[in-house]
């Protein structure tokens, strides 16, 4: 364990924006005393929250929710609602904040979407798997997601037979292609600092071609769902999401394959042998560190990291200091303790990231002493364009290179900044601040609603300067400019000094709806 290295309040809040779902009174104090390095190590050891265990429910809603079932049967078993609710509840209240943030980032890189897979426990099992492996090794994570029945179904690796000339069919290429393009190496060769390698003509160099996709697709044939309890494996097994997919030898293409034009997978391998060989080759491709590392930086810290920052994270991916490649804890240390991440603020013009909806609503809830059962927050994030675990496609809610409008910078979450979702961001602040507590949803077992506690801020509101100081710290790690602060102060003073609630609402609304807050710097 590193020793405690006290830090400033601004740095502590900033660290908590990056490594958790937002600062709270208690965690600000804790990080100020211990410093980011020790706080990070302690996070690695927190007990896991997660989604628990799942039991099999028939994937056909007609059988799983027969006539006479409660109205909530479909919502609770064939939509991701229970998972989303648990996600937001844990994000606001559970202690394993870093693991949750890492798993959430991974859920947006290694995408399986509940928009297509409707069986709740299938997605739940997958999301729990990301929680389990978020702080482990990336190679093991690749193994697990590749054999996950939910991923198998989402990207068609499950029940993918070997070529059949009589029927004129070739293996399904879906998983093979996206495993390369989105989950591991990307489309073009990268330097360790994440910049593109160029050929003699100054053109980017493709990492793979259609031949590699087809060879990889063949290497990944012959897997089916795990057998249901008591059943014998056949091809294809019926849908079953609990456990790993199983091989079915007769449907595996045992011919030789070549990846990237030069890396062979020998003929005669079983489905397991070929999968391992393929994943080893892919995992050891030099692109993985910069490709995954840069995206993790974008999810946690800033949308446009410098090449030097990416290179430091790639180096940690390539070697954790003990010769191990793919150690996610080393990667997270490199990202969160980097000089570009630490300090009170960055004043570089291209620094920062637009808060994505899930992080916006949890940040507001945590910073304003909130508590939530998740229901209201999941609805609000959905209204803002981010229904977690329900990305529109395997390309997530936004691609890593989506441009911030009017700039040449990457600003991924701007993809979901539409007129409607923008207004919903502001209207969320209006409702949660001016509307009071959100009552529990009577159709949800154990619901407690969503509440903020504005009392500590009201205690400061007699002196608007103190109120703004506090909001500036907890929501913006002291980055509010004097001019912006003055604009808010003027509006706050439209409320009488004894209307402390009005003043807090006015001030918090303006901070939370400002572009300055929407962009975490």
């Amino acid at each position: 364990m590193p020793t405690a290295q006290p830090t400033t309040a601004g740095d502590a809040v900033r660290f908590l924006e990056q490594a958790t779902f937002g600062p709270t009174e208690a965690t600000i104090q804790e990080v100020m005393q211990k410093g980011p390095a020790l706080a990070l190590e302690e996070q690695f050891g927190k007990p896991m929250s997660g989604y628990g265990t799942f039991t099999f429910i028939d994937p056909d809603p007609g059988r799983g929710c027969p006539d006479g079932s409660p109205d909530t049967c479909y919502r609770d078993n064939y939509t991701v609602f229970p998972l989303q609710r648990a996600f937001f509840r844990n994000a606001v209240g559970a202690s394993d904040q870093l693991r949750q943030r890492a798993a959430f980032a991974l859920s947006q890189i290694l995408v399986v979407s509940g928009a297509e897979l409707e069986t709740m426990h299938g997605i739940g099992y997958y999301q729990q798997l990301l929680m389990n492996f978020a702080l482990a090794n990336f190679r093991d994570l690749l193994q697990e997601i590749s054999l996950s029945p939910a991923m198998g179904e989402y990207l068609d690796m499950v029940n993918n037979p070997k070529p059949d000339p009589a029927r004129g069919i070739e293996p399904n290429e879906n998983y093979a292609r996206e495993l390369l393009q989105l989950f591991t190496i990307g489309e073009v060769e990268l330097n360790a600092d994440g910049t593109r390698r160029l050929d003699a003509d100054g053109q980017p160099i493709p990492t793979y071609d259609q031949d590699t996709v087809e060879n990889l697709a063949r290497a990944l044939t012959g897997w089916t769902y795990p057998p249901r309890p008591g059943a014998t494996t056949r091809f294809p097994n019926p849908i079953y999401y609990l456990g790993r997919m199983v091989p079915f030898a007769a449907q595996h293409d045992t011919g030789a394959k070549v990846l990237f034009g030069s890396q062979p997978i020998q003929a005669g391998g079983t489905a397991e042998v070929d999968l391992n060989a393929a994943l080893d080759i892919i995992f050891n491709h030099p692109n993985v560190g910069p490709f995954i590392g840069r995206q993790l930086i974008q999810h946690l810290v800033t949308s446009n990291p410098t090449p030097a920052y990416v290179a430091r994270v790639s180096a940690a991916f390539n070697n954790n200091g003990q010769g191990v490649r793919g150690d996610m804890r080393a990667v997270l240390r490199a990202i969160l303790l980097d000089a570009e991440a630490r300090g009170d603020a960055k004043t570089v013009a291209d620094f920062g990231k637009l808060r994505e909806p899930a992080l916006l609503v949890t940040n507001v809830a945590r910073a304003l002493n909130g508590s939530s059962d998740g229901v209201y927050l999941l609805q609000q994030a959905t209204n803002m364009g981010q229904s977690v675990f329900q990305a529109p496609s395997v390309f997530n809610f936004y691609p890593p290179n989506f441009p911030a409008p009017g700039t040449t910078l990457d600003g991924p979450p701007f993809k979901i900044m539409l007129t409607g979702t923008i207004l919903n961001r502001a209207n969320f602040a209006n409702r949660i601040l001016f509307g009071g507590n959100v009552n529990p949803d009577a159709t949800v077992a154990g619901a407690t609603g969503t509440q903020l506690n504005l009392q500590p801020l009201q205690a400061l509101a007699g002196n608007p300067d103190q109120l703004l100081d506090r909001l500036n710290l907890i929501l913006m790690h002291n980055t509010l400019s004097p001019q912006a602060r003055q604009a808010i102060l003027t509006a706050v003073n439209a409320y009488a000094a004894n209307d402390t609630l009005g003043r807090v609402r006015q001030a918090a609304y303006l901070v939370a709806t400002s572009a300055q807050y929407q962009v975490e710097q």
């Binding site: 068609d156 993918n160 037979p161 029927r167 004129g168 069919i169 070739e170 399904n172 290429e173 879906n174 292609r177 489309e187 003509d201 493709p206 259609q210 996709v213 949308s303 013009a349 291209d350 620094f351 920062g352 990231k353 529109p392 496609s393 390309f395 441009p403 911030a404 409008p405 009017g406 700039t407 040449t408 910078l409 600003g411 701007f414 993809k415 979901i416 900044m417 539409l418 007129t419 409607g420 923008i422 207004l423 502001a426 209207n427 209006n430 001019q483 912006a484 604009a487 509006a491 439209a494 409320y495 006015q506 609304y509 303006l510 709806t513 572009a515 300055q516 929407q518 962009v519 710097q521």
Partner: protein
């Protein structure tokens, strides 16, 4: 390969071309601006995931159908549509093609002469043969067969993914002056943020396809007015950070234009309502909103508009017969309703709808689906369309044949998206000399007018 254009009413098209060619850019703009009742709109419908055009437009005559059916596999897992199920697209001398049965609502639009089919179009670096494609990587668009790259290439008409603006945006840049005085943006998406509408000076504005939208909580009290004033002030501050500036502009744009557009999109007395009466799909809601914004053009002060709508779910690697059939059950009725709506609004000759998609799909099947490919067929609808005809060349259906990149039926496009865009741009009023400003690589292709617009 022969570039074959089948065109109906060729002379009607030529007349418009000549008029456009004789006028220099600026005076053309002025001429248009002064014309009474001058209005034009383009509506892009993007089919995300890569629509399998092989099963949208299918050859119906024996020999071609036979080649198609052979490529689509036999028995379980095959994708050949039954010959008798296809909705015939009548042509003089007998139909050569039929539509997927679930697109039957479009048969009448074709019969009216208001729908054309563009065959085997896609992103191209230059015209390319199978031999050239196979010999030289530089003849290929970047990262072929990937969703996001080909989406971008179809929307930018730039094959190397170096474009940050779309051809709908560049089109807007050329004609935005015609909308002078309007406070409402001309390029509007009802289908999310993508590059198509983003221009150099014109930015893409999004509108919710249904429901009221606006800022809540401003009830005209002194406190609320102070809040509103501060909100506006904050947009103008701290712009030294690029991300903050970008966010401020996007947010203030949304806040400022929402009132006018909310009124138009939620017009309960719209003449387009009957056309959409029994539809409630994602795409129908979007196109209904587009119809209402077209209807509200005078109120919004706009004489040129470009719209973007979209439907997803076309990445049918598995279970394609059912899944694509379901998508077409949305697409056919929604496009037909939009056509009926523009007729009801009396603007059918001023509005053109056209489809784009990531890519076509392999003719060869995997087990029940098809994989990412390249050239694809598209639909163009409107009164100004030289319809009831196909344009471009239908690919040989032979696996490993002259139009195949390899042996799985990935068609090498014989028409570039550049030409597709240029043809629409010309109709939209962009003078010939300015076409390269909209479609920068148009000179690489033999013709810039495919003839499908009057």
């Amino acid at each position: 390969m022969c570039f074959q254009i089948l065109r109906r009413n060729f002379l009607k098209g030529l007349g418009a071309i000549t008029a456009a060619n004789t006028l220099p850019g600026l005076s053309l703009m002025n001429a248009y601006a002064q014309a009474a009742n001058d209005y034009k709109a383009l509506v892009c419908v993007f089919l995300y995931g890569g629509n399998d055009g092989n099963n949208m437009v299918v050859p119906v005559q024996a020999a071609e159908y036979g080649a198609y059916a052979q490529g689509r596999g036999a028995g379980a897992g095959g994708l050949a549509l039954a010959q008798g199920s296809l909705v015939q697209l009548a042509q003089a001398g007998g139909a050569r093609f039929g539509l997927h049965a679930n697109l039957a609502p479009l048969q009448q639009v074709w019969a009216n002469g208001d729908m054309a089919v563009l065959l085997n179009a896609g992103p191209l670096v230059q015209p390319v043969t199978r031999a050239q494609y196979r010999a030289n990587r530089s003849t290929r668009p970047a990262n072929l067969f990937s969703h996001d790259d080909q989406q971008e290439q179809m929307q930018t008409a730039i094959p190397n993914n170096q474009a940050s603006i779309g051809w709908g945006g560049r089109l807007g840049d050329r004609v935005v002056a015609l909308n002078a005085g309007s406070t409402v943006p001309m390029n509007i998406s009802v289908g999310g943020n993508d590059v198509f509408l983003r221009g150099q000076s014109v930015s893409a504005y999004s509108v919710p396809a249904s429901g009221q939208f606006g800022l809540n909580g401003f009830n005209n009290t002194a406190q609320a007015n102070a809040r509103r004033a501060a909100l506006q002030q904050l947009f103008a501050l701290d712009r030294q950070n690029d991300m903050v500036r970008s966010a401020a502009d996007v947010i203030s744009g949304a806040v400022n234009a929402s009132t006018a557009l909310n009124t138009v999109v939620n017009n309960n007395a719209s003449l387009a309502t009957p056309a959409f009466q029994n539809l409630n799909t994602g795409l129908s809601r979007q196109l209904f909103a587009v119809a209402k914004m077209i209807e509200g053009r005078t109120q919004l002060g706009l004489s040129r508009q470009v719209f973007f709508a979209q439907a997803g779910g076309y990445d049918n690697h598995q279970n394609q017969i059912a899944d694509q059939g379901g998508r077409f059950n949305e697409l056919g009725p929604a496009l037909r309703a939009f056509y009926n709506a523009i007729v009801a609004l009396g603007v059918q000759d001023q509005v053109t709808l056209f489809t784009l998609s990531d890519f076509g799909r392999t003719l060869r099947v995997n087990d029940g689906g098809s994989d990412h490919a390249w050239g694809n067929h598209h639909l163009i609808i409107g009164g100004a369309v030289q319809g009831g005809a196909t344009y471009g060349a239908f690919p040989s259906q032979a696996l490993g044949g002259p139009d195949d990149t390899d042996s799985d039926g990935r068609w090498i496009p014989t028409t570039a998206v550049d030409q597709y865009a240029a043809t629409l741009a010309k109709w939209f009023g962009v003078p010939d000399a300015d076409i390269p400003a909209v479609v920068p690589n148009i000179a690489r292709f033999p013709t810039r007018d495919l003839g499908f617009m009057a």
